[in-house]
Symmetry: D2
Subunit: 368 residues, 4 copies
Amino acid sequence: MSSSFGRFFKITSFGESHGQGLGVVIDGCPAGLKISTEEIQLELDRRKPGQSKITTARKESDLIQVLSGIYEGHTLGTAIGLVVYNEDHKSGDYDNLKDLYRPGHADYTYDARYGIRDHRGGGRASNREAVARVAAGAVAGKLLQSLLGTRCLSWVEQVHELKAQIDPDSVTLSQIEANEVRCPDPKMAEQMHAAIQQAKSEGNSLGGVIRFKVEGLPAGLGDPVFDKLTADLAKGLMSIAASRSVSFGLGEEAALLTGAEHNDLFVLKEGRIATQTNRAGGVLGGISNGQTLWGRITFKPTATLLRDQETLTKKQETTQFKARGRHDPCVLPRAVPNVDAMVNLVLADHLLSFAVANLGRLKRALVH
Amino acid sequence: MSSSFGRFFKITSFGESHGQGLGVVIDGCPAGLKISTEEIQLELDRRKPGQSKITTARKESDLIQVLSGIYEGHTLGTAIGLVVYNEDHKSGDYDNLKDLYRPGHADYTYDARYGIRDHRGGGRASNREAVARVAAGAVAGKLLQSLLGTRCLSWVEQVHELKAQIDPDSVTLSQIEANEVRCPDPKMAEQMHAAIQQAKSEGNSLGGVIRFKVEGLPAGLGDPVFDKLTADLAKGLMSIAASRSVSFGLGEEAALLTGAEHNDLFVLKEGRIATQTNRAGGVLGGISNGQTLWGRITFKPTATLLRDQETLTKKQETTQFKARGRHDPCVLPRAVPNVDAMVNLVLADHLLSFAVANLGRLKRALVH
Amino acid sequence: MSSSFGRFFKITSFGESHGQGLGVVIDGCPAGLKISTEEIQLELDRRKPGQSKITTARKESDLIQVLSGIYEGHTLGTAIGLVVYNEDHKSGDYDNLKDLYRPGHADYTYDARYGIRDHRGGGRASNREAVARVAAGAVAGKLLQSLLGTRCLSWVEQVHELKAQIDPDSVTLSQIEANEVRCPDPKMAEQMHAAIQQAKSEGNSLGGVIRFKVEGLPAGLGDPVFDKLTADLAKGLMSIAASRSVSFGLGEEAALLTGAEHNDLFVLKEGRIATQTNRAGGVLGGISNGQTLWGRITFKPTATLLRDQETLTKKQETTQFKARGRHDPCVLPRAVPNVDAMVNLVLADHLLSFAVANLGRLKRALVH
Amino acid sequence: MSSSFGRFFKITSFGESHGQGLGVVIDGCPAGLKISTEEIQLELDRRKPGQSKITTARKESDLIQVLSGIYEGHTLGTAIGLVVYNEDHKSGDYDNLKDLYRPGHADYTYDARYGIRDHRGGGRASNREAVARVAAGAVAGKLLQSLLGTRCLSWVEQVHELKAQIDPDSVTLSQIEANEVRCPDPKMAEQMHAAIQQAKSEGNSLGGVIRFKVEGLPAGLGDPVFDKLTADLAKGLMSIAASRSVSFGLGEEAALLTGAEHNDLFVLKEGRIATQTNRAGGVLGGISNGQTLWGRITFKPTATLLRDQETLTKKQETTQFKARGRHDPCVLPRAVPNVDAMVNLVLADHLLSFAVANLGRLKRALVH
């Protein structure tokens, strides 16, 4: 069950980095949602390799094929099959990796688990797997947009030691897309860009932090006690390659406040129950409270380095190796649409669960 | 599906804080595991209320009843039903909460979701729900111990601004259990204890950080791509009440290192593949690499405050309220066994998945 | 995952025949459903042992305890925990079975699977496990009744060679409950009763057929392609102890008709789309068509015989044995509420799935 | 979750009859299984349209593409993505069906559920969906063959009133494949063939019965209490288009025997525990007992008729219509590989579950 995610809006992905292709099946998307191939492609283009000087040079058009489940521009309610074929798989680049374990990569752990692996470009462990998530996330995002008028917005907040100072409430998609780093602070984005290029030129790599927000959610999304909104988001976000931590609201900083300092007090805003502050990140007891949902994900620096590293072979012999394959010196700019996708997928799933959580909503659904 | 967790070693919990009782069904525990009621009780006793001056005064013996699935001291392979009856439910303490929304609690969000709630002591949102997790986690822990000779060890690393300086590799269970805070640094534990009592006397509360480790795991646990070990742990740990962030290995600090600084190099240790350092926290590509699994969870300060707070009623009227119910001024000491439980549950689940992940292991299992 | 059933309205059962007790957790029942303990008890009383001369003499009051999820007469939306304690477990009756394999029973197969078993009264394989299903089914039935004004009605149609001639459309619950066989044809019921008593007196047992119907279902229940309504019903019904076949509509007889004879033609009835005949059993392509859902389940004769049978011991030695434990000479009368329960559970599950299957219904649910 | 099947060996299918293509993702197949594209193709060729005079004339080469999960002839343990593109979709044939509801088809029920449908050739409700099952079933079959040396064998036992008299124990694959009907009784096969051609020439259709058997299974497959082997098989088999009943062992005939006549007595055969007879169909208490697993599925006559039928339009107007699309006058010959597939899928799933059901097997798996 490792390649499926979600309960009501469920996706199942497949594909290796240098195999024939990748794809995803979406099962449980309600019928009647208007969506075009272009809308899905748009999100894939945001994560496409080769989009800038600070991303991998691999050339993939990542053209999505809709094999089923969408007819005449609308979802049918049946399983949506989406496929992208790999084009630029220079498998030869990876011949030298066949029998060694790259530091920081999953080569060794895949071998330990499966006793066999597709060594080309990391196989199933490659970041390229995100194609499937992003394609499915585009459909989830459209569903949210269509039903709630909102969806997730993520951006790069930190690269290595460079932290942007941004008012999160004012961030827009166009600000995010305005530069190649996907940091809505243009000046900091320039510095980040330079830092990434510098690291690249040194055969090194950088990590950082992505922040996400979802405004305008209704209160009530989230299933106690194990499928809390925060729990499912944590799983989805920690399943993204290179993620190392996930937090909601103040996150780690919450430990430094007392209860009297941390509690968000309830107040009326425009006749509706709201909170004065939003340290909780829009979730109470694992259920959305109608305030902006927000949090952060930390990504480690890319494990692939264009410099010599010592490592072990399958036969336990020491060897030197230097990566030749194309890669991102910093995964964050292209991870932004991936974060959007995972958050949208979790929210779409929980929106369906919410719809049937009480008799009142259920009765309204069944009226005809 | 909100009250179930796990795929192969699956638990389903139920129970409200002030209802008749709580319980859990474990489905998928292999037959033939030797386990006694006492072993389960032992873990429950670690999280039992009323165990010290810095925990809630609620008196519950939390005696576990084994209703099924264990016979003559061994698991039968069938569903294990465990029940704990509530004893000290002073529901009257909560009468004043019936129609108001406590800040930082899930009262409002439960109402938004369900349109109805059991207001007594937080109902299903209460920390008391952890009884079920801890009971199930005891069985998972025994399974791990029996098969691998290891299981999770957690401790309090930080309370508010007080951070312990501990060599994590040397921490033992007896060190953790040596004081009421469950911090294996005895001097810091005293300071933490004082800080919690101080906060309590001021009607305030504190948060902090719990660290966990699992030594001696085999390499290969973790399912790509959504059920990564880290992803499932993140979900399990973020489903614990009051958790705000979860991280693995260096976590947030990973963003501050370059790739060359962060990669753990493979080396041979005692003839086996190991890593020189363990910044990754024992997981590569979501799969255990045979090194110590470790990470941290941040908990917010308890939302319940024994002081006046302004809030809203269900009818959207402003009101003052001061908590009367018993509560923990700092959830961390009693959250330690809960963290152990969730980690053990995830590992037990992944151990079963690992056993059938390749043909070699599967064939060995089927030999007779 | 063997003890869970359902996706949206999910139940998890536990309990052995002669253990401490049995129970079930219902996860996913919408909040706000009015239901009393008495309503659940009523269904349990229908399947209770010792209710007549043709059922087992075991004395169990089967009193249900509601441990969670129902508060002040309404469901909370959280997990509903239900428990029944065993009272009349005369385990001594089964001492002679500890090391032998009863013909037609699951003793040998449980040993082959688990390497250990609770031999007392069949343990987990006992029909007594149905207590959990029936209790959960009562809640599902109430949900259906409340939302659709209908729920399942089952009755005994055949015992051994005795087949009742009944107009299924006119059968009512009171007709079914009017006699101990639960056959709404009173004259045939008498003959069946006599046949069962006769078999009992000979230490023998009888099987038969139960028919079920659900009138007044909306069209649209059923998920293509694997979770068809018929597929999920087949699974639920074939999971009942002693069931040997399940069919829908004409079932096996359908093979004897040509397509021109079998197709139900669409016609307007009272301004709504209906079918002239109902050979299909109310389902087309696995989805309900608004006609009466109906089908049949065949039960084998009880395996327990109060007469000598030759069999093998665990050590593969031949032995003679004669059952001493209490049992039903014909399982059908008490299987009727079990069939009701499974059908109601499947329908409740599919009703929730139906509510979110298209954007129109989903939008209506979310309006507020 | 409608398009997924299985728990450990899980498949997710997608595709409409006249969309771009169909496919399936297999998640949970153990790594290291040797399998070629040809082996999968072989099964698809058995169910391919246009294979004889008694099947649909639609021309599809049904060439399978392996997009992921198999590398250098072995499974990787990761998700296996399989795709077949549609070639001969003459959608024009179905223009007249856009706004009417064909009798016996799912047109009306899909509309009731989704409010939208792909009317071309039945869309998702088409028998063509079985491409995905059969492809996945081929992998499951290979796994069984590789681990147990056995897999499912199905054949046509009855067409309309023509019943073959065959010794089931002696039936071989080559006998089944020896004629276009897939009935191993050559004389009866000829009569069946003639009957189907006769029905076709009259614009009519026929149903019938398929029997399956699996020899050489170990005892112990099947999860109590809901995921019994029989329950899961019933679900899988009842999810096949046009199926109307499923039975195990004697099935409906079991009702006509007394317990003394029905019980299979345990005996030693070649030093192993076996049963003298096999009326139970190889399953006791939902768990395999090591005897041949066998049962039957009844299929209704094809709903598509090449003759005038009266029906209703979407606007509830009466209309005459006569099918033009290509179809099978009897689905059974091509349903045989579909039955094989579903049985193999269930068995593969249960084999993995069996491997971790007790501590002994689990320990052996983990030894290294």
